[in-house]
Symmetry: C2
Subunit: 400 residues, 2 copies
Amino acid sequence: MCCDKGTEEAGPELLAGVSLPAAVLHEAPLAHNLTWMQRFAEAHGARLAPHGKTTMTPALFRRQLEAGAWGITLATAPQCRAAFVHGVTRLLMANQLVGEANMAIVADLLEAGADFYCVVDGAENVRQLGRFFAARRLELQVLIELGVPGGRCGCRDAAQVEALVAAIAEEPALRLVGIEGYEGMIAGGDEVAAVRAYGERLVATVRMLRASGVLESEAPIVTASGSKWFDLIAEAFDEAELREHYTPVLRPGCYVVHDHKLYAGAMADVKARHPHLQDELRPALEVFAHVQSLPEPGLAVIALGKRDIGHEPDLPLPLRLHPLVSQPAAATTPVDISAWRTTHIMDQHVFLAIPQDAEIAVGDVIAFGTSHPCLTFDKWRRLLLVDEDLRVKENLATCF
Amino acid sequence: MCCDKGTEEAGPELLAGVSLPAAVLHEAPLAHNLTWMQRFAEAHGARLAPHGKTTMTPALFRRQLEAGAWGITLATAPQCRAAFVHGVTRLLMANQLVGEANMAIVADLLEAGADFYCVVDGAENVRQLGRFFAARRLELQVLIELGVPGGRCGCRDAAQVEALVAAIAEEPALRLVGIEGYEGMIAGGDEVAAVRAYGERLVATVRMLRASGVLESEAPIVTASGSKWFDLIAEAFDEAELREHYTPVLRPGCYVVHDHKLYAGAMADVKARHPHLQDELRPALEVFAHVQSLPEPGLAVIALGKRDIGHEPDLPLPLRLHPLVSQPAAATTPVDISAWRTTHIMDQHVFLAIPQDAEIAVGDVIAFGTSHPCLTFDKWRRLLLVDEDLRVKENLATCF
């Protein structure tokens, strides 16, 4: 017997034989997104290192690498270890590496042959890394993180960058190979202009560092980009000189399964900025759950909760009703219920406002979409890959 | 190598050798809480079936049963399976059992010898259960759920209860053995009076059902109680007749690790209602994380995020700073930083507002508390049980 809520064996059909709730990946849009973003990056002369923290699903990392990704981006040392164990050899940790136990995880990966990069933004961390990796007789590749005032991590100005370069130069175990940033912290005002300016600042900084001779790399890295403004960063990096003498790297993560609201809106913005862009990302992640109770007119309680699906920035989005009980003959022909609204979510329950005359019964199945996919993946130890007939093709394990 | 963020082997000392962030259970308050709530229930003549969904940690279920618990409450069929696999034989599923795959899980548990109970609140679900368990030649013990208008699941009034009793009577595979409710949905107005009234309604309903001869049990169950108003429910159930002829069951879950805000406040209310109550619950769950970056005066970015710690209803609460780097000689003497404030949380980062003159360095460790423990447990596949010197005694696996 299984000790978590995932299904151990791939079943024949999602709506029969699978314990719900279940997180579901749709095969066709997933395959489409893998190809679409890879082509987008290549069209701009950039490498793709998809952020793996979104999914932490090694079977998706493998598909991203097979589609042509340069490496996988990760957020923590244990995430890097999980990816490496599953065959990812180039790891871009888009965070500071802090704590000796985490440094030890990375040292083990380096000894096992990983091509690992992390970011630095302060002299104290640089000293700690230098001391630790020198003691292990290992060389650590680092990127300077450029931040924005009021933002998250990263050097705020040129003086901080200069001081950091000097600190890195004091540590023989560290090799400075480029610049990293995350434009997703930019908010307020003319965001598009600010993101463009930030991309240009990253490019100018990596050029300045190269000119000053402090970068120990033939093709220094310049990297940024989440899944919202990837087009603006790609454009900032899209220069003949960068294509030839640098390694521009884009790092979107959510693109691989996209979503039904937040990134759907971001995609519409990308399309508006690029009217001739062919096709677009498609939502691939859904969570299926049962109608559990119909206790009052206008209210359906769903057997689904915060333990099963993300609820930020938006509550789960009802998409389709499979009327297994209310109309068994039509159960495989879902009803569009995207006009219905989730009003509340608890640990194990969702409250759905439904029309008074809705044809619905306890035992019917509802497919929900999400707004921002990251916080749905981490609710599951396994996701089900299904084809368009909802046949389960594969169980995909996560490593959270 | 490990493929998730948990530590596979118990290390000697939390602050050295353990990859942070890590979720930590403190041994002494945990042991205290186990005993405290068991004694509280017994003092009121009630059984304790702690809600296992809080922790989904079999090593804690075992401790709860060893402390005297009657059974373990759970929210879903897969949770029941996980508990049963780990030795819990009496399972109270405080939810409707919906979907044939979930019914099949429960049928397997019944065949393996489980003493299983679930709740019903509608005729359609009753028909589905009756048909399924009859086909499996099994008998299913059910409790009628009593809800409140505007609440979650459960019969809203006596007419609904009457109709449900009739529906259950039509299904030979179902055995009606009592009444279930959850007072935690009561909000607004004089909540204490409303919870008391709800407890009395549960008692009156189970008495009415017994008198009408529809309960197939020598000692019918009457059960309710989360971790907020457990005292009021215990009082409503505390009658000589119930002690003798019924099985009153309390189901708090969060009590086992308590918390630093939401339930700390609820405990203060319990103490105010019962000035002579001895001792109280103590917080046992914390998450330890590194200071990752100090990019601007007044801001510390912590290597901790929504993937690691609950952030509802309150952001993570900074408790103590272990100055491993800033004052290495004093690293094991933590500094009280409970006056500091978390201002923002992202998937992998916490923003902490700190005094401009704070003695703090990248690599220092901060212990965070939570407000409502449930949504911290499900972020971890393992928690570390530590003694008061922060030596790791045991790795506790979770089953989410």
